[in-house]
């Protein structure tokens, strides 16, 4: 899961990014509305955390532009503005959730996971695929009822596949959801991660669709 964090307070942005990364999220940080707007419009993110009072461009106008240009990524507004009229304005501009500062970071993580899960079309918090189960609320994987230990990269790849189970995810799409914007991406590294995941959950669970990408499948019954 890759998240765009648009927050002008460097210290807060750093704190949130650190906390999100600890929960396996890939995080890109933009320090102003202009950069944030540009990143959200051009890069692929699973969700965005958007402050409203931003330098250069206000968060509301950034959000409106995203929606106007068809960007439907889930957006969590994280702001100091706590008036109900401001919340209404935020939702009217296209926000999916709204959290007021100061906040508990667990709340941000939980809400982001829920947003990504709902955007992928899963109403329930628990997503299963054969013996594999993903608690999208807690962010934990189980295999045959036992906790599955994963690295951050493995978690990002598997959660992306899990939320789109039985559907082919293009390789480029997967890479975009796994690596942060400024990461040095080795073109073969995604294969390395897929290989490690196959060893953990069973090679037959992740199919390679030649020329297109990967698919997580429950396999033939």
């Amino acid at each position: 899961m890759r998240v765009l964090l648009v927050e002008d307070d460097a210290s807060l942005a750093e704190g949130i990014a650190r906390a999100l990364r600890a929960e396996h999220f890939a995080v890109d940080v933009a320090g102003n509305g202009e950069d944030g707007g540009h990143l959200g419009a051009t890069e692929r993110y699973d969700a965005a955390v958007l402050d409203l009072g931003l330098p250069k461009r206000d968060g509301i106008s950034v959000l409106r532009d995203w929606r106007a240009s068809g960007r439907d990524l889930p957006v969590l507004i994280l702001t100091a503005r706590d008036g109900w009229s401001e919340k209404v304005e935020g939702f009217k501009a296209g926000a999916d959730d709204y959290l007021v500062k100061p906040f508990r970071i667990e709340e941000v993580v939980m809400r982001l996971r829920a947003l990504v899960r709902r955007a992928a079309g899963h109403a329930a918090a628990r997503v299963t695929c054969g013996p594999l189960a993903f608690d999208a609320q807690l962010g934990t994987f189980e295999l045959d009822g036992l906790p599955l230990k994963l690295t951050a990269f493995e978690w990002r790849v598997l959660s992306a596949l899990m939320l789109r189970k039985e559907i082919v995810i293009e390789r480029g799409d997967l890479i975009e959801r796994v690596y942060e914007g400024d990461a040095d991406v080795d073109s073969n590294s995604i294969e390395v991660i897929i290989g490690r995941l196959r060893r953990k959950i069973g090679a037959e669970r992740i199919e390679t669709v030649r020329g297109r990408g990967y698919r997580l499948t429950a396999g033939q019954p």
Partner: protein, 450 residues
């Protein structure tokens, strides 16, 4: 010591009353005087004619040739009050009266015979007869080689007094009527003239009560500049309040971001082992939110009561709450007439209903009902959830500022008390009770309809 009444009405009335009374008094005096002179002239002419007739009968030696004396009409009747008398230079005395009447020497105003000796004019005089009746005289000094002969004709004053009285009575009555008319006109003038001031006071009261934004500018020329200044003052006041609110909001928002950073740092392992620092951050946050809420309450929202449609406002808030509380499967049921509107600033309405709906959402098990009905000049909005509800003690507690019965989520903790204050600030009120239908909490807000 205060000479003037405090009210403008009283002052203007006093000035108008005093000046009218003085003018009427002066008019009565002048007209009376002119009238008296007019009537007196006829009287004097009669006396003067008699004096002239007698003067012709005066001989050069200072004696009177009584054979040549002719008594004109009135003088020929004894006891009519018309008499004449002649005083010769040697002390002789002639008179028309059977018994000479004791006319004092001072009868003539000029008095002294010495003066009369050389005077050629008729001298008027006033006096009283033997029985005390007022008399009027005309005296002429007729010069002779032997000395001046003083000829006096005397007539009864009542001859002129009666017609003067007859003429003065209707005149005074007319003046009295005129005075009454002027008094009515003055009262009317003051009432109409000072009307705009009363209107101005009523308009200002409307502004203060929030039913009008400005004092109407369609005013008389003399008041228009005052109204313009008043409206400018209203604008200045509003701008000042907006600035102050903005500063409070900026301060609050400015504090929240570093506060969020601080909370985040504290939540990272090891920084706050017993959670006391986190509690302090939450306390600071609570106070910031509380005072931000209070600053919003102090807004001149009431000063610009607009027509805010209820249904769209509630629909927008439901959209927000469905997003914020997406994790809770609560279904809202709204039944509000789309034309129903309240006289409340849209932001105030959002804040009021947002807090109540948020509270309902937090406590509802499965559903929330939002109804609104027009009751005369008010709109009653009911928000009821199917949660556990509150007992009477908890309801009283919930409406106290800063109390927080619910520790779940990021509730403001004073949502209900803020909602109550907002309702009251906008001329309504908030009531909490147990819902008879769902057994949960029923919040009823009464607001002025528009």
């Amino acid at each position: 010591m205060r000479f003037w009444p405090r009210s403008l009405f009283g002052r203007l009335l006093a000035i108008a009353g005093l000046s009218t009374a003085a003018a009427l008094f002066f008019a009565a005096l002048t007209i009376g005087h002119v009238l008296e002179r007019f009537v007196m002239r006829g009287f004097d002419d009669r006396l003067d004619a008699q004096v002239a007739v007698i003067a012709r009968a005066v001989r050069p030696d200072g004696t009177l040739d009584t054979a040549r004396v002719v008594d004109l009409a009135g003088f020929d009747e004894q006891g009519s009050g018309w008499t004449w008398q002649v005083d010769g230079p040697a002390g002789q005395h002639w008179s028309s009266a059977a018994e000479p009447i004791a006319v004092p020497r001072t009868f003539a105003r000029a008095g002294e015979p010495r003066h009369l000796r050389h005077a050629a004019d008729f001298i008027p005089g006033e006096g009283r007869g033997a029985s005390g009746e007022p008399l009027h005289s005309r005296t002429l000094a007729v010069p002779t080689p032997a000395g001046a002969v003083v000829v006096t004709a005397i007539g009864p004053r009542r001859i002129v007094d009666a017609p003067i009285r007859e003429a003065m009575l209707p005149l005074l009555l007319s003046l009295l009527l005129l005075g009454f008319g002027l008094a009515v006109a003055t009262l009317l003038q003051l009432r109409i003239g000072l009307g705009p001031l009363r209107g101005l006071q009523a308009s200002l009261a409307e502004v203060r009560a929030g039913r009008q934004r400005y004092v109407p500018t369609d005013q008389p020329l003399e008041i228009a500049p005052l109204v313009a200044e008043l409206n400018a003052l209203i604008d200045q006041n509003e701008t000042g309040l907006t600035h102050a609110r903005q500063h409070v909001a900026n301060l609050a928002h400015g504090l929240k971001t570093p506060l969020a950073s601080l909370a985040l740092k504290l939540s990272e392992s090891g920084c706050d082992p017993d959670g006391s620092l986190g509690d302090m951050v939450r306390q600071i946050d609570g106070r910031v939110r509380h005072h931000l809420g209070r600053a919003r309450l102090a807004a001149p929202g009431g000063g610009r009561r607009v027509r805010t449609l209820l249904a769209p406002a509630v629909t927008d808030l439901i959209t927000v709450l469905l997003g914020i509380h997406a994790a809770r499967a609560v279904e809202p049921h709204m039944a509000i007439d789309p034309d129903l509107a309240v006289a409340v600033d849209p932001q105030d309405l959002d804040e009021l209903l947002g807090n109540l709906l948020d509270n309902a959402w937090r406590h509802a098990n499965t559903s929330i009902r939002i109804d609104a009905a027009l009751m005369g000049t008010t709109v009653i909005i009911s928000i009821e959830d199917d949660g556990a509800g509150l007992d009477d003690a908890a309801i009283a507690e919930a409406l106290l500022p800063g109390r927080r019965l619910d520790e779940r989520g990021d509730g403001h903790g004073f949502g209900l008390s803020i909602a109550r204050e907002l309702a009251e600030l906008n001329g309504g009120h908030l009531q909490l009770a147990r819902s008879p239908r769902s057994n949960g909490l029923l919040a009823s807000v009464t607001l002025p309809a528009r």
